[in-house]
């Protein structure tokens, strides 16, 4: 029998840990921690922890915080967050800082949690192998990458603020040359601000409706989508999710006026959005997110195996089937354009 993969569960409520262990121990080696600090300690000591499952509400260190720190210590570990009653800000933090893979709602469904954990473990193993292949092939001798069992070289790119120096900026330019940014918003503000930030170095397209967005997608190379959740009285989240499902290369940033925890959670689980922010967003924050997204897109193009880390759940209920057919109809040309 193969050695069991390691899964770390964190919650201040011991009964939850007991349940999770009972649920998962037949397949995985379950490590438990009752606080964020304890969890980080385990992450530092134990190599190759595939999945981290953390509760959001814990004393001293919140789940989002733990995820952010865990990402630094063990970038290869897939991060799952248990959410019951959480405030919006902690969800946003776990998206933007913790880069959470899935949210798991409390109370959970045992089958669902097993499925998610199985999937996350699989992705973790596969991406680890891919990264090992790269490090062996390339002459990349990042000290962190070589020191860690799961090389952090790729995650590193996002960890560092993308505007650190001219080298980073140049690499961003190089990697994303040609592909543009699509702003899906019925207001002009974001597109105008982006134009100012990026100085025309990247083409920017503004779609005021979903149809316009599809039209633009089929005619231009797009690397990053910055979208509202509501565009011209249409729900844009489904569009974002379907797009990500069918075209995983696209990086999505959500900028919205509408606040809903459920929407955020579904956008992560089914849309793997990259960043989420309320409007109005500060100019430099938008610049940071956009440049970081462009860099991520570049990474994805070079190392498509890593895309698995952002694989989405299947959409269970599709509200607008015509949208799917419309999108899928354009998909082929899209893939060609993106060199997929």
């Amino acid at each position: 029998m193969d050695k069991k993969e390691k899964v770390l569960c964190v919650d201040d409520e011991i009964n939850i840990l007991i349940s999770l262990r009972a649920l998962l121990r037949s397949k995985y080696e379950i490590l438990i921690a009752t606080s964020g600090e304890e969890a980080l300690e385990i992450l530092r000591k134990e190599p190759a922890i595939r999945v981290l499952i953390s509760d959001q509400r814990m004393p001293k260190m919140l789940g989002a915080e733990l995820l952010r720190e865990a990402k630094k210590i063990s970038p290869g570990t897939m991060r799952l967050l248990l959410t019951g009653y959480s405030d919006l800000q902690s969800i946003i933090d776990s998206i933007n800082e913790g880069e959470v893979f899935r949210f798991i709602n409390k109370p959970w469904n045992n089958q669902e949690i097993r499925f998610i954990v199985d999937f996350a473990v699989k992705v973790a193993i596969e991406t680890e192998q891919a990264v090992e292949k790269f490090t062996n092939e390339a002459s990349d001798t990042d000290p962190i990458a070589s020191a860690s069992a799961i090389p952090a070289s790729l995650e590193n790119q996002q960890r560092k603020p993308p505007m650190m120096g001219p080298v980073d900026a140049a690499s961003v330019q190089e990697e994303t040359s040609g592909a543009g940014i699509l702003v899906v918003d019925d207001e002009e503000g974001i597109a105008v601000t982006l134009q100012e930030i990026l100085n025309d170095s990247v083409p920017i397209y503004n779609a005021r409706t979903i149809n316009e967005a599809i039209e633009l997608l089929s005619n231009h190379q797009i690397s990053v989508i910055i979208s509202e959740t509501q565009v011209a009285n249409e729900d844009a989240t489904e569009f974002v999710k379907i797009l990500k499902q069918n075209y995983p290369f696209i990086i999505t940033i959500i900028l919205t006026k509408y606040h809903s925890a459920d929407t955020m959670i579904s956008l992560i689980n089914q849309g793997q959005i990259y960043r989420y922010s309320y409007k109005p967003i500060q100019k430099n924050q938008l610049g940071l997110y956009t440049r970081s997204a462009l860099a991520r897109h570049g990474t994805n193009l070079h190392k498509p195996e890593l895309l698995k880390r952002h694989q989405v759940e299947e959409l269970k209920e599709i509200q607008n089937p015509s949208l799917v057919s419309k999108l899928v109809g354009r998909l082929k040309s899209l893939r060609l354009k993106m060199g997929f």
Partner: protein, 607 residues
Amino acid sequence: MSLRYFTNFVLSLFMIAILVFLYTKVQSLNIDDHYEITDTLRQHSSLNFRWNEQVLKTKLSLSSNYDSVTNPLVDLRSLQNKLNTKLSELSVESSSLKESVEQYNNSIEEKNKLIEQFKGQNAIFDNSLRYISTAIEDLVSEIDSQSSSNTKPNPTFLALKSASQTLLRELLEFNQSAQQNLAEPITEQLRILESQKKSFPDTISVKLDAVIRHALVVVKRKPEIDSLLAKIVSLPISTNIEKIENAYTAVYDSRVRDKDFYFTTLIAYAGVLLALLAFIGYRLRNSYRQLNVLNKQLTVANETLEERVAQRTEELSTAYNELKQSQAQLIQSEKMASLGQMVAGVAHEINTPLAYCHSNIDLVKEQLPDIITLFKEFANFPNLLDAPESEQQALKEGLGTIQEAMLAFEKEGSFDEMNLLLEGSLSGLNQISDMVKSLKDFSRLDQHKVENSDLNKGLDSVLVIANNVLKNKVEIIKDYGEIPKISCSPSQLNQVFLNLIVNASQAIEDTGTITLRTYSTNNFVNINIEDTGKGIPQDILPRIFDPFFTTKEIGKGTGLGLSIAYKIIQQHGGTITVRSEVNKGTQFTVSLPVNQKTDFKNFEVAA
């Protein structure tokens, strides 16, 4: 405003003064005076003329009475006085007039003096002149008597007689003609008679001597009188009068000119005033018209006022009702906010045990089919025992399977685990039921007023409800005393305690403690809630119970929490007090009377 009125008043006074001034100037020329003066002057002239006449008459001896000479002077004096008084004011204006009046006065004085002299001289002269004829008659009669006595005419006597008669004639002639050359022969004649005098008898010589004396007087005085008269007549009185007249006329003319000027000015000024008056009238009429319009509007406004007042009252009462409604809504929203907070907290508190209970039972249920299978195998076992030899192998295999399955269960710790899971689930369910009980205690929705309410228990239920905000942040220290049960509205008091405890926890920025102390004093139950938070600054401390006062961001709090708490405690007949020190903490003390007399009917209003 008053300054403007004052200015206007002064201005009008000034204009009236100008008008009065001009009018007096025009009126100052008295035509009666003028006529009187000219008349007086004319009278002077005629009187003077008459006077001269009288003087000349006297000289001619046409009148031997001096009254006729002095009488005009009396008249003249009175006239002079009149003239002087009349002209004295005018003399001030004109120096030439003054001068001429003075000259005139002087000349009158001079004339008077001369006339007095004349009167003196003329009396002597007149006497001698009258006497001379008598003296000569006496002499002649004497000579005649002497001659008759002698019978024989004496020639010398006769010569004397004729000489004296000649003398009389010559003297009268001299007096009449007043020619000086006639005086010489008379004087010569008299010298001859003087020399001859001694040669005559004494009676005659005496008489002759008288004649000679008187004759001499006549001859000597006559020229003096004549010169006096000439002087009198030659006095420039009429000239002076004329001068006065001229000067006066000049003055008068200038006055007339002045008057004309002032008159013209007055007319012009009056014209200007009239124009001004017309303008003011026009303005007045305009303002009157405007006033009229305004008046009409006012009347209309007055008429509609009542209607508008009614309308406004309606609006006001509508606004008041809206305000009341919105206040009620605010209170409601405050209630909903605290309720929402409570519900969210409870939901989270329940959610966690619910999550693992659900999961655990699911897991146990998953293993149930294996257990059922196992039981079925066991149930089948007696049948296998009864089975023929040929099936012994199957029996062994079956036993082996059961053993294996049981070992697997054992090995995996499934039984222990199942026990653990079920125990966990039970404890979770207990947790949930505790929660529900606390909720029930907290809200006491079943009754408003409770006779015997234990506030310690109430506080515990509040702590369960508030656990969500307190957990991981605040350490709760309970210092409950033995307190009597009181009659109150527990749900409302719990609302107050929840509000105070949540506030206390919000005042604690990182971690801290909240101490709950209960004790009884003098028929009062006291609940003391003390935190180690940031405290309330002294300047806002008195305002914390005011409705809508909040230090939270807009949208984060209604500012009604403490004001509602205050009202609830007040309606319970109790007090709520606060003590706070910045950076040390805050302490709220609620004191409630053990024996309530409060009417709970109106509680819904506050709560």
